[in-house]
Symmetry: C2
Subunit: 376 residues, 2 copies
DNA sequence: CTGAAAGCGCTTACAG
DNA sequence: CTGAAAGCGCTTACAG
């Protein structure tokens, strides 16, 4: 591990070379106002001295912190690590740091989280909003990662297309009666996924159940009635997330139904354990890296541009800028105010594993008794 | 959502009240050098104007960024969300932000991640180190979250005690032959957990298998030989993580063994889905909130103290401080250099669910055939 | 109790 | 091509 040492400042480099700090700054930032030779010498000394620029000084002068904020809805969502990693990655590439905040369940907390990040002077915000929340003008560029159905400007996976591909997959396996399982109808992501699956399935009978509604009636962790659905003729259970798929898998198992022999099961997200379990879960994966890159790049553009992005937004608060406050260092953040304008959809990828198989009608109701149970 | 507005600076408050910025600063920071009445008026105007201090200005002046860095080993580890949330939470309480970085698989990346955070001027670092990595002197206070067996200064869950409690639980259920499943013998956390379980089990036969070794031979996702172990007389499979437990659960299921009737299964960590599956997984939960608080508080102490914490560490690099560089704003970070000294162990909590039950010897080998299979 | 002044480290017009 | 100067917003001795 590196041994700590006295971090020299710009002035020290300037002193040791007998030049001005301005020249050192120019040389290091590569703006080309310095002769190539001098620039080279300066870079060499900087490297030798182990110079690390003070972000605080730069931030104060430029009015930019070099930091992005990441606001997550429910950190308990296992998708979080993927997103956080991808964003951090993309941000690092752009030379930015990532400050995290989560809105832990509460809707009010989301606002506070954003507020905190804003107070810390983030240059931009990546928000994965809570269900039913809309992110408005915030005082800095914002990229929203959500469903494409979300009104406003977002970057997201094409949940609908992913669902459609999954639907076609099930259709091609001969499934003609599919049970769709979502968690909350308030989620646009889930609605997109279900809508896509339905479209992919075409005329296939597809009934949808929402866990939230079931649990309101039957209590947390209540049965999803999967065995009943199978008894009624369903040959596949398509869920909107791997987490729900896991619950379905075990409920079916508990009912003595075997996957995929008796019934196929699918998820969404390709969470870490989806490939570990037996049978492996057929699921749909989003390209988080690409989504993160789009979001971060959009922010970078908005941050770099003085205000053009804001011009694309009708609700921009440019008028709020006090006259005589324009330009110069430390200029109001309002001028860069903008919600990232590009609405992008990133394709999803179907991952077929063993949890889906041909629809079979041969399944016997008695299959839910094991030999052991018969003997006892 | 809040409408963005021109953020006024200290001077504006000072101007509008006809006082000096020094007085405003003093009033707002509550250092008590201002008459109560004036202080009150200042606070009122600040609130009215929507004053938000510039962290950049403060950072530059005080030499402190108000930000902590969080370095995570493998962000894919599902434990990450819990830790990240807990740290963010604890940091927010202390008025600190959290900058994330992950070492994505590579060991070298961990060093880079730390470096990046350091360059951003974090005041302290919380590191969950990669297996086999040791975190040395870094140039700022560091709190390591790992196993208590890790040499050096750490805060962690008492994995050993948690394992012991689990072992006693299995013992009390009558288990006399337990299979322990770990991932890598290089992990001190896993060794602690397994050591604890063994201790709790007392004289019970306990064999340990390491997945890493198995997969080196049998390939990724190979069988863990659980059914064989059961055939040899094992009545319980105790794993070092819920993720492994999930794999065990499905492998056992696949082999036609029923949990907990034929064999009990336990995990560690109480991941989100552990209560969702059927049967619910018996596991051991760490008090992440407490761990995070200890880590953050330790950092706060080290940050506040000029250097005392460093004095506790024999490897401190105090000697590196250039003479004449002590004290004053912007003073070298080296002086605050310190690895948090307190080695703390936080108790873990056993969560008993349906995946563990009494040891039963009555299990029939034929149980892995379902009626359906017999008929076909 | 209050204020004038200095300075943290940087970048950016502006002059030369 | 290079430098002197100003200033981002804050806090902290130091005087009064």
């Amino acid at each position: 591990m590196s041994v700590s040492r006295q971090t020299p400042r710009l002035a020290r480099i300037a002193d040791s070379l007998g030049v001005s700090t301005a020249t050192v700054s120019n040389a290091l930032s590569g703006k080309g106002r310095v002769s190539p030779e001098l620039a080279e010498r300066i870079r060499a000394t900087a490297a030798e001295l182990g110079y690390v620029p003070s972000l605080a000084g730069r931030a104060l002068r430029t009015g930019r912190s070099g930091v992005l904020g990441l606001v997550l809805p429910d950190i308990a969502n296992p998708l979080f690590p993927q997103i956080a990693q991808a964003i951090e990655n993309a941000a690092a590439k752009a030379g930015y740091g990532v400050l995290i905040a989560d809105s832990r369940g509460q809707i009010a907390t989301q606002t506070q989280a954003i507020e905190r990040l804003l107070e810390r002077g983030v240059d931009g915000l990546v928000v994965v909003p809570r269900r039913g929340t809309r992110i408005g003008q915030l005082g800095c560029p914002v990229a929203v990662i959500d469903s494409p159905s979300t009104p406003g400007n977002t970057v997201s996976a094409d949940h609908w297309a992913g669902g459609a591909e999954l639907g076609r997959h099930l259709l091609s396996l001969g499934h003609r009666h599919v049970l769709l399982v979502g968690n909350s109808p308030a989620s646009t992501v889930q609605n997109d996924r279900i809508g896509g699956i339905r479209a992919g399935l075409g005329k296939v009978v597809a009934e949808t159940i929402w866990i939230e509604a079931l649990e309101d009636a039957g209590g947390r962790g209540c049965s999803l009635g999967l065995a009943d659905a199978v008894a009624r003729g369903a040959t596949a259970v398509a869920t909107v997330s791997d987490l729900i798929a896991l619950r379905a898998l075990t409920e079916l198992h508990h009912a003595g139904l075997e996957v995929p022999r008796d019934v196929s099961v699918t998820g969404f997200d390709d969470l870490i354990w989806s490939s570990v379990i037996t049978p492996g879960l057929t699921t749909v994966r989003m390209d988080v890296a690409t989504i993160a890159e789009l979001a971060v790049n959009a922010l970078m553009t908005a941050i770099a541009a003085p205000s053009p992005a804001a011009a694309l937004d009708t609700e921009t608060t440019l008028a709020d800028v006090a006259p005589g406050e324009r330009g110069g260092p430390g200029r109001s953040r309002v001028e860069r105010d903008a919600v990232v304008a590009a609405q992008s959809k990133v394709p999803m990828e179907l991952v077929v594993r063993q949890s889906t198989g041909p629809a079979s009608r041969s399944h016997k109701k008695t299959a839910n008794l094991t030999v052991g149970e018969l003997i006892q």
